[in-house]
């Protein structure tokens, strides 16, 4: 018999014994070990996550279920969630990233929603110098592509940053988005005594046994060999069939609750469903359809085999559901019933192998982690002699270069909703004839490393700005907080201040968090990653009012909106008051039809932002950076990454400036659209040449 190695602390072990008043058996220990892990329980992060604003008039289903749901119009609501799959992707990039997509899509699906889009914020190592990082990058993208493409859910956006702190521990975060009719929402709850627990989907194997506890430990190189059983292989065809079958099953109204089997597998899904319903469960684990022989009850309970879901089916309506599943060739098994008594009881061959109070499983104790303020990094101000060379260098930097190599591998148009396609500030999906949603991402990990406080604030501000830039009004946010080892006080401090910063920002913008995820222990060999609190914002857009960033008409004025400060080489200060004023101004200008192109400024500042607008539109510009009134150097004017700025073009620039003044926002006309040059005043470069450099920056590093 294989001994189970517990990852519980000594204190936790003591606590279990005293709560239970006896020694748990092996199966019970395995369950508690998984359910009390950081990844499944949020035991370190829970008390801080309470800081987030979670309520709002549009919130239909808030934090606490598998995904958030936000009202859209009278009939429809939008489901949205975000997850990380960092550790699995570090070990096996294709399968790790693919199962990341699979997992978030099932979160969406479990709430009765049809998955309509994914976005994939990625953080990779130094692909210039590190072969392994290049391998990971290529294969992570392949994993996302193979999976998302096959299941017919378009990957419509994301971002990608490269930094050597991610060499051994890349980040794969995925945002999932779904569409659901308001009256067809299903919750992750089983509250009717007598309802059948129906396990649906793939046969259970030993995949990913202890995947959760594995995600709650640091990656150590010598760990790799041992962690291999944790690898879960993806099966996108099974996922696609789950989607098609369940969308049909939901129509019957026979499903009273649903949850996907993610981290923690069978036991996590079932115990949480009955716990939320205030009930208990009687499980016959022998009924589970298995892929491998000789699996022990604890293995079946904690296995993380992919492409499985748990349904609570109204008593007497099982056959109706099973018939539809059979039609689609989806396997199923009646594995238990909801019981009144709040116990989690598991039988195996007629013998009781688990008998625990549900609360012990689902309510692990909170841990109060110690934190210690870390140092902020001094700005790294480059001395720029050759503006042209510096700009070209930036355009070629994989952090700034075109991400076409990534998103062309993703089917981003399936389901025929994608109005604004990847490559712009935010994606726009058509929902009704007149309205759509915008999806924007924010987080500059480099800024977060230099200054976790401003970095996190910047993440919110940037995500909102990206939505604003396409004409969207932000209505909700999701987040994925990627940090190092929370047991280390400095790492925990970074987490704490990031949550505080994001919470403050969201309150200032008036948007709630509806779902999120925390990923700790992102360290390899003791070196933590650059902290990466990634924020995704959902906005609402009127389709006839969407904006894009490409320069259009020769002669139109180019206007910079917002203040440029001396913030090159550092994390810019983020003042939410000012951010909001600028966003509101842009939306107002868009409403009155004054804007012909719009782009928010982020990495590489004004110089890079203008260049991208030129590449997308295929038109050059003639501006005079020198004419900007700020008393800062030309280098700062060109490359400072000050927050809260946009560049817009307009045929009525005076009106733009006037409206800006009305809101106390600075706006300066700096030149106009036209020509075949990027002409900045002090220097200029050829449009085609610069574009080539930008297009090839990432692509040429890869096969």
């Amino acid at each position: 018999m294989k001994p189970i190695s517990l990852s519980l602390t000594r204190e936790e072990v003591r606590r279990v014994r005293s709560l239970l008043g006896r020694e748990p058996n092996k199966t019970e220990w395995a369950i508690i070990d998984v359910m009390w892990s950081e990844h499944a329980s949020y035991k370190s992060s829970r008390e801080y996550l309470k800081l987030f604003p979670t309520e709002g008039k549009d919130v239909v289903l808030g934090v606490g279920d598998d995904c958030g749901i936000v009202g859209f119009d009278e009939r429809y609501a939008i489901a949205i969630a975000m997850e990380s799959h960092n550790h699995p992707s570090a070990i096996e990039p294709v399968a790790g990233a693919a199962t990341g997509v699979g997992g978030i899509v099932r979160d969406i699906l479990s709430k009765g929603a049809r998955p309509i889009a994914c976005l994939d914020p990625l953080r990779l190592g130094d692909i210039y110098r590190d072969e392994r990082s290049k391998y990971l990058f290529e294969n992570i993208v392949k994993g996302i592509a193979d999976y998302g493409n096959c299941i017919g859910v378009p990957t419509v956006g994301g971002d990608a940053e490269f930094d050597k702190s991610f060499n051994k521990n890349p980040l794969v975060n995925v945002v999932g988005v779904g569409l659901v009719e308001r009256d067809k929402i299903i919750r992750g709850v089983a509250s009717n005594v007598g309802d059948t627990l129906l396990l649906v989907g793939s046969k259970t194997g030993r995949d990913g046994i202890h995947g959760v506890t594995f995600a709650s430990e640091e990656l150590k190189s010598e760990n790799e060999e041992e962690s291999r059983p944790a690898v879960q292989i993806e099966d996108p065809l099974s996922e696609k069939l789950l989607i098609d079958a369940l969308m049909e099953v939901y129509e019957t109204g026979a499903v009273s609750g649903c949850k996907d089997l993610g981290g923690g597998g069978f036991v996590c899904a079932t115990s949480e469903m009955v716990s939320k319903g205030g009930k208990g469960a009687l499980i016959d684990i022998g009924k589970v359809h298995l892929r491998e022989e000789g699996m022990e009850p604890w293995e079946i309970l904690v296995s993380e085999t992919q492409e499985r879901m748990m349904l609570a089916v109204k008593r007497g309506r099982e056959e109706e559901v099973e018939k539809i599943l059979d039609k689609w060739g989806v396997q199923h098994a009646r594995v238990g019933v909801v019981i009144e008594e709040r116990r989690y009881i598991v039988k195996h061959n007629g013998r009781i192998v688990v008998d625990l109070p549900v609360e012990i499983i689902t309510n692990p104790p909170t841990i109060h982690r110690r934190y210690k303020e870390g140092k902020r990094k001094e700005p790294e101000k480059p001395k720029i002699q050759d503006y042209e060379g510096f700009l070209m260098g930036m355009l070629a930097d994989p952090n700034i270069a075109s991400k076409r190599w990534i998103y062309e591998q993703y089917d981003h148009e399936v389901q025929t909703r994608t109005v604004i396609k990847p490559g712009m500030d935010a994606a726009v999906l058509k929902i009704s004839d007149r309205e759509g949603i915008a999806l924007g991402i924010g987080c500059n990990s480099k800024h977060c490393r230099m200054d976790p406080v401003m970095g996190a604030r910047g993440a919110v501000a940037e995500a909102v700005r990206n939505v604003t830039a396409v004409g969207g009004r932000a209505i909700a946010a999701v987040d994925c907080l990627n940090f190092g080892n929370p047991e280390k006080p400095e790492a925990f401090w970074k987490f704490k201040v990031s949550v505080e910063g994001i919470a403050e920002g969201l309150k200032a913008f008036g948007i709630p968090v509806v779902s999120g995820n925390v990923s700790f222990y992102n360290e390899a060999d003791g070196t933590p990653i650059a902290p990466s609190p990634i924020v995704a914002v959902l906005g609402r857009v009127r389709l006839e009012r969407i904006m894009t960033m490409g320069l259009r008409e020769k002669g139109e004025s180019i206007v910079v909106i917002g203040d440029t400060r001396e913030e090159m080489g550092m994390a810019p200060v983020v003042d939410f008051e000012r951010e909001r004023a600028v966003d509101d101004l842009i939306l107002e200008l868009n409403d009155i039809g004054s804007i012909t192109a719009c782009h928010d400024l982020s990495k590489g500042g004004l110089a890079v932002g203008l260049a991208k607008m030129a590449f997308v539109g295929g038109k050059g510009f003639d501006v005079d950076i020198g004419s900007m009134p700020e008393k800062i150097t030309v280098s700062e004017k060109l490359f400072s990454e000050s927050s809260g700025r946009f560049v817009v073009t307009s045929a009525e620039a005076e009106r733009v400036v006037e409206r800006a003044r009305g809101r106390g926002v600075s706006a300066q006309i700096i030149g106009e659209v036209g020509g075949k040059e990027l002409s900045y005043g002090p220097f200029s470069v050829d449009l085609k040449e610069a574009e080539e450099v930008w297009e090839r920056g990432l692509r040429d590093l890869l096969v």
Partner: protein, 222 residues
């Protein structure tokens, strides 16, 4: 009535149905691969996706499913049958169209808009285009490199069976830039680009819509 065929893993079925119903305003129904009766259908679209997960070869398993004998019967009766992307792969593997679709030369899945030249407009699907006209549609596939033997290629050229070629860059290494082919009778056509994704201005263009319009017109003329 036009049918839109659904295999396990098909993922563009709803998109095609939406275009046929809403943009073309024609009666359309989904056809599940276990359906046994296709008698009511005047035409059929085999949409894109990853039937059977693209395992074995793209389209290979679907092409051998029992329902395909009925599709072949429809083809023999002269009813229009359009295969888009995975549907094209299925039609080739089922022997309804010559040639095969191999892995893209770049080995990667490619999703982007491309320019296409109309080579032949004398068939059920192409009559609303002009010969030589350049149109834009998106592609999204990993196995779209058209190949066939030399003799077949010459035959196809002689009988005017090549309907579309990539007009700009060749995105997948297709032989002679082939993007779409039809059978000799002109009632069965397969193409890698997705006309259903190019049927609404706000989604990027409407150049693909005429394929469906042409199909529907030909049916109503019968």
């Amino acid at each position: 009535m036009i049918g839109v065929l659904q295999f396990p893993g098909t993922n563009c079925d709803m998109d095609v149905i939406r275009v046929l119903r809403e943009a073309i305003k024609t009666e359309t129904r989904p056809v599940f691969f276990k359906d046994s009766n296709l008698e009511d259908l005047d035409g059929l679209v085999i949409p894109g996706g990853f039937s059977y997960g693209d395992h074995l070869r793209a389209g290979a398993i679907a092409a051998k499913m029992p329902i395909m004998s009925q599709v072949k019967k429809m083809a023999r009766e002269g009813k229009p049958i359009l295969g888009i992307c995975n549907g094209f792969q299925i039609l080739c593997d089922a022997g309804l169209l010559p040639g095969a679709l191999a892995k893209n030369i770049g080995l990667k899945f490619v999703c982007k808009w491309v320019d296409l030249r109309v080579e032949n407009n004398d068939n059920v699907f192409m009559r609303f285009y002009k010969r030589g006209e350049v149109i834009r549609m998106p592609i999204a596939h990993g196995e779209g490199r058209y190949v066939c033997d030399e003799k077949t290629l010459r035959e196809m050229e002689r009988r005017d069976m090549i309907t579309l070629r990539y007009a700009g860059e060749n995105p997948n290494g297709s032989m002679e830039n082939i993007a779409g082919v039809a059978n000799e009778e002109g009632n069965v056509m397969g193409l890698m680009p997705h006309p259903e994704r190019a049927s609404e201005g706000i989604l990027g263009g409407e150049d693909g819509k005429r394929i469906f319009e042409s199909m529907v017109r030909c049916i109503s003329l019968k």
